[in-house]
Amino acid sequence: MTAAPAADGPEWRLLLPLGAFFVLFFAAPLIVLLLVSLSDGLALNAFSLTHYARFLSDSFSLSILVDTLALGAKATAVCLLFGLPVAWVCVHASPRLRSLLLFLVILPILTSVVVRTFAWIVILGQQGILNKTFLSLGLIDAPLRLLFSEVGVVMVLAQVQMPLMVLPLITTLQRIDPNLADASRALGAGHWRTFRRVILPLWLPGLVAGCILVFAACTTAFVTQTLIGGARLVYMPLYIYQQAAGANNWPFAAAMSVLLMISVLLVVYLLNLCGRSRWATRHG
């Protein structure tokens, strides 16, 4: 083998296997999805926008898409509210406590989603722990309907996806120079003001990254949505699955999948943009 020029070696060739895989088994399926959504089946003929028109003009379908995006937004907000303090405590804990806390944060994300969701059924059910505790404390007279309610789904999604929020938050918070907060406090700004004016702006990249990951995960969380939401609460993943598997209505299901993808990517894009513009106005 003759020596290649050392500076710009044949490293790009290492990209070929992954590149070929992505073209064949990621990009190609997505293109087929798009084509099927525009036609009347796998025969790929009679191209039209019929299925998109059908979805967008049907208020029931449209409300499911809106509900799904709203569900993602609510669960992300709850995740953020609790994720910020969790990351803060992890970073400021002593090294020993810190590895224990990190273990507690990582364990749920590695435990099967089905298992975690199942745990919540035991907790939230009519005979569940939460209802029993509330009843015995006299806080409520009749069992609350937590299972099969939107509040329940939001709660469980927030818990299940929490690590996706906390890990990027920890990464970014660690990189913030602690002297900045010390300086701000020494100059008379209190803890709250220091947090709002010094820490939060510097934390924004991690915050945006966490929100994007959680939002994307919540909108496609089929298991949690179906098991906690039940049959009455329908979100896009179940709707797509029903149309694709049950009714064998592939083009319509394909159009729904494309619409879900576009809406999720749009939100991701907006979140990114929002993170960048805030960053620019403060530091540009």
């Binding site: 088994f25 099927v36 303090p85 969790v86 990190l102 099967s112 089905v114 298992v115 919540w120 089929f222």
Partner: protein, 271 residues
């Protein structure tokens, strides 16, 4: 005097709010796992908590759960194959784009990471349409291909991160001392990024073993995988064997995590 008190109030209220929210969050992070573990040892046929008595009967019942065992075996096969492929594709890809600062490398990086952001369920359906269109019947092999697309980003992410910490002077030194490219890779690069690859491989394995959105479309009765099997049981008739299976999964996860922490420094690779 009043000012000091105000500062105290400021500090205390900040610590209280952060501490209280974090305490609630940590409680809810651990609580469900503990509940499942305890419930799985119940002696009765209902999922009541706390259990009226404890026994191992539901774990024993798993020994007869043929369908569940077959599903677990399928999951294991698919996860191992998907992880092996992800390591091959992800590591080579990371070597190509990880050290480059070029614009195309950044763009490719976000393309290869995109499976983590796109709704996986939509991709699963897309893969079903694709395989049907090109006439490939569904099998464990097609399931593996579908899983690799969503598992590769994990290996790519951790390997690129560990490559970023690799001092390029080491490679230059090795090459200028006459070692070939492959020798340098095997003796210098690989040992230094090995932990990154291992951490990514661990995450890819767990992601594949636990995957539902992609498997939902790419499996049939013959190739059923464990998470889907459990989901169906929970969805139709809640039975306590699910709790025992969940208990086993939790214990296996903890054991694997301890191993990953020991050999790959998992918690350091994740943030």
């Amino acid at each position: 005097m009043a000012r000091t008190r105000l500062l105290d109030l400021d500090r205390m209220s900040f610590r209280f709010v952060v501490g209280a929210l974090a305490a609630i969050a940590f409680f809810f992070l651990i609580f469900p796992t503990l509940i499942v573990l305890l419930t799985s040892f119940t002696s009765t046929a209902s999922l009541r908590f706390p259990p009226p008595g404890y026994s191992l009967r539901w774990y024993a019942a798993l020994l007869d759960a043929r369908q569940m065992q077959q599903a677990a075996l399928n999951s294991l096969k698919v996860a191992i194959a998907a992880t092996a492929l992800s390591i091959l594709l992800g590591t080579s890809g990371a070597l190509a784009i990880g050290r480059s600062t070029a614009r195309w490398a950044k763009i490719l990086d976000s393309i290869f990471m995109s499976p983590l952001l796109l709704p996986a369920l939509a991709f699963g359906f897309a893969a079903l349409l694709y395989f049907s269109l090109i006439g490939v019947p569904l099998s464990l092999a097609t399931l593996v291909l579908g899983h690799v697309a969503v598992c590769v980003p994990f290996v790519l992410r951790t390997t690129i991160a560990s490559l970023a910490q690799l001092d390029p002077a080491l490679l230059d030194a090795s090459l200028s001392l006459g070692a070939g490219r492959f020798f340098t890779f095997r003796r210098i690069t690989l040992p230094l990024i090995g932990r990154g690859i291992a951490a990514g491989a661990f995450l890819a394995f767990m992601a594949s073993f636990d995957n539902v959105p992609v498997s939902l479309f790419l499996t049939d009765a013959r190739t059923e995988v464990l998470p889907i099997h459990l989901w169906q049981i929970i969805d139709t008739d809640l039975d306590v064997r699910t709790a025992a299976a969940s208990g086993l999964l939790i214990l296996a996860t903890i054991a694997l995590m301890a191993a990953a922490e020991r050999f790959a420094g998992l918690s350091k690779q994740l943030h």
